[in-house]
């Protein structure tokens, strides 16, 4: 089975792609409109630079080749919600092409291209006899990401989309408004010929539509039938796909260049834009670069990207990955929430770790200083409250040497130690201290 997706992402610009109308929701239809997005004769498009920047950021995220020169094209088709009967899109020279996205940080999914285009308005059916058109959405900037048919199951397609969307949100600060701003066209072939299911909204629907199609196509083939190349749509309520049109009736869009916008030399702009590393990308890099296991990397990144960055700084400050891992997943993780909420500066942490790495203080002292620094408490208070905790943990481990072996097999076993210590100390120590001390001691023994 081969599945390829065309993912449409609404870009979070303040104004529309080719005019200055706002992109925010309007209470009343046809109020966020002007001559340009209504396609009035004599009006003209002007490029929103921010949309181009977002396009470049996504192209970088997807490891695409970024064209030095790009331009726009006219795609001509007649539909009432397309105000000019011409959609401004990219045909010949898209922003990005030939990229790759690593599913789970591993399986490469080819990215054919990413291009920018304008959204049409919306048509609303009113009763049997008429439709109304709302052009508030007309001209909202979209990026379309087209994948190679590298996905092998509907569940994989869903997982891909989930990870892709998370990365897109992170990269361009796309607000999380459910799945509204993401729409998807799904191409699937069980045999040789493919069908396209247009305009599916939401992860669950993508999986449902693809599953339905996979079963339908398999049945047709088993019965000795032939799959015809066609466009289908997904009926969300009934959970089925329905044929819209056969291939020979596909519109010929008659693409020509859009002369009103001219050409854009984006090479320099593209070089000047750097993008935030995606959480998944960072996990993969930490594993590769520091040789730590994937689980640890994921744990640090999912706690906070900044925590993972702190880990990297500690490695370079102390020269020891192992030290950095044990302290990062131990005491630093345990106090991270408080520290982050208070807007703390990680330089202080690095400083303590540097002194520890230089042999200037013991494990216990470093633990106390870290906690004091990260929670904004003075050292003596921490020392008083902490005293005895390490001893309790040590004595428990001495009494149960098998625990260390168990933890090696299954790191969840550490919870048993934590549970025991909590019970024994009866609320004398905050749970974050118990977790951090336990992790620190356990890490030093395994």
């Amino acid at each position: 089975m081969k599945i390829g997706l065309e993912v449409h992402v609404q870009l979070p610009t303040l104004s529309k792609m080719f005019c200055s109308c706002p992109t925010t929701d309007a209470d009343t239809p046809n109020t966020h409109v002007c001559p340009t997005c209504l396609g009035m004769p004599g009006s003209r498009p002007v490029m929103n630079r921010k949309a181009m920047e977002y396009g470049i950021m996504l192209a970088k995220m997807l490891d695409c080749r970024i064209a030095d020169t790009v331009w726009f094209s006219r795609k001509t088709y007649f539909y009432p919600d397309m105000s000019k009967s011409v959609q401004i899109t990219q045909y010949d020279n898209p922003v990005g092409s030939g990229g790759v996205y690593r599913l789970n940080g591993n399986k490469p999914i080819g990215i054919t291209r990413i291009h920018l285009e304008e959204d049409p308005g919306k048509t609303k059916r009113v009763g049997d006899q008429s439709s109304l058109v709302d052009y508030n959405r007309s001209g909202i900037p979209l990026a379309e990401i087209v994948t190679e048919p590298d996905l092998s199951t509907p569940a994989e397609a869903r997982e891909f989309l989930k990870q892709l969307i998370a990365d897109i949100r992170h990269t361009i600060d796309l607000p999380d408004d459910g799945e509204r701003s993401i729409r998807c066209d799904c191409n699937i072939s069980v045999g040789k010929e493919r069908c396209e299911v247009k305009n599916v909204t939401g992860l669950r629907n993508v999986e449902r539509a693809l599953t339905f199609e996979a079963v339908r196509q398999t049945k047709v083939l088993k019965a000795g039938g032939k799959i015809e190349r066609e466009t289908r749509r997904f009926d969300e309520e009934r959970g089925v796909t329905v044929s819209v049109r056969k291939k020979e009736f596909e519109a010929d869009y008659g693409y020509i260049d859009e002369p009103d916008l001219g050409i854009f030399r984006i090479g320099e702009l593209a070089r000047s834009i750097s993008i935030k590393e995606s959480p998944l990308g960072m996990t993969v890099r930490l594993v590769r670069e520091y040789g730590i296991d994937e689980k640890t990397a994921k744990q640090m990144v999912s706690t906070s990207v900044d925590l993972a960055k702190t880990f990297e700084k500690i490695v370079s400050a102390t020269g020891s990955t192992q030290t950095a891992v044990s302290w990062t997943v131990g005491a630093i993780s345990a106090n991270w929430k408080t520290f982050e909420a208070a807007g703390g500066d990680t330089d202080g942490i690095i400083d303590i770790m540097k002194r520890f790495g230089g042999g200037g203080m013991t494990d216990v002292e470093a633990g106390i200083e870290l906690k004091a620094y990260m929670t904004g408490t003075d050292i003596q208070t921490v020392r008083d409250s902490d005293s005895g905790l390490d001893e309790i943990i040590d004595s428990y481990l001495d009494a149960h040497p098998e625990m260390i072996f168990e933890i090696r097999k299954n790191d969840k076993a550490v919870n048993r130690i934590i549970g025991h210590v909590m019970k024994e100390t009866g609320g004398r120590y905050p749970s974050s201290d118990i977790v951090s001390s336990t992790m620190k001691i356990v890490n030093s023994k395994i």
Partner: protein, 442 residues
Amino acid sequence: MNMDVTVASLPRLNEKYSMFSRISDDIGTADFKFLFSAKDNLTSKDMETRCGSRILEGYRPAFDATAIEKMRISGGKLIGKNNMDEFGFGTFSTNSAFGIPRNPFDPERSCGGSSGGSACAAAVIEDHVSLGVSTGGSICCPASFCGVYGLAPTYGRVSRYGLIDYGNSLDKIGLISSDPGRLSEFLPVISGKDRKDPTSCAQPDLNLTGKKIKTVAVPREALEGVSGDVLSAFESSLETLRGMDIDVKMMDMPFLRYAMPAYYILATSEASTNLARYVGMRYGRQDGDLTLKFDDYFTSFRSEYFGDEAKRRILLGTYTRMAGFRDRYYAKALKVRLHIISSYKKVFEDHDAVLTPTMPFVAPRFDDISEMTPVESYSADYLTVPPNLAGMPHLSVPCGYDAEGMPVGMQFVTDHWDEDPLLTFAKDWGCAFETRRAEVLL
């Protein structure tokens, strides 16, 4: 002549010449420094804008075209919208849904097109300037037929905001007047960068320093197929030019012959996409049968309200960009355009301008026009199309009259952004050549 008197006489003038498709209702001319008119494909807030097409009947734009706005700001009063071939599709202004402009030198003959109404107004109204638009020769052709001066500036010199598109990569707004001084006076007014039209933002400043044309190249190819009357007027003008110390050289420019096919492919490809928006919704005529499905609704609407030439160009332009033909026609025409631009540039290394007659014949009679096939009338543009395809500025000046007194024009082409020598020449020529005014009888 007093401005109020001129304005008051417009309805009668228009009855005779049909140069306006709309005349301003507001006849007061106090507070205005000058009168102007504008081709009806430039949007105007105060007047219906129809582009010579029934499909736009009732379109009252919400905004002024930048060129009109700038003329108003510098003290101009827009007295009317000039009649034209539907959407600019034509050479004789006979493709208008609102009457046909009549040549001031002979009302049985054409004014030329597609800015026929603009040239007619410039010839008939005293001390007048009108805004024309050229895609493939629509300023120089009517200027030549009506015996006036016409300037099509470099593509991108004048903002196209508010210009209802024919071919967006070719359309240029320019000026027509019987007084060559008006061209230098108003080009600086309407030109300049405009954020509302990105293609206007690449232009260098317009500096009118009085630079002169010293050498011109005349392509031998251009003189083939030119009528005897035009040729003799042109050749005697060459003598006048030599007398003005301008060096005239004959040259071969074989590239010129590729301009026509490339032009018609690009112009119709773009036009067919521009005209796609006219579906009987949102503006213009919207009185179709609403019980029809959308496809049937807009099809019946377009069948009824587009003229024959608009339909022909939609068909041609849709064909040339179809999958499977696109590379053979549209993409190839883009390459030909680049070739023509670079060939012109080579000529401009050693010459200040390229000179040809403007049109191969004088204004034809309407009964002769009705006998022409579409290809014959398209071919009449073969001298004006090359500079338009290349986006280069060009000027038509009256240069003689045939035995029946019909004007002949010649056309100068200069390099991109080099309008200065064209305007200087227009003024000098105005002194050297005795222009005849058409007799206006009311």
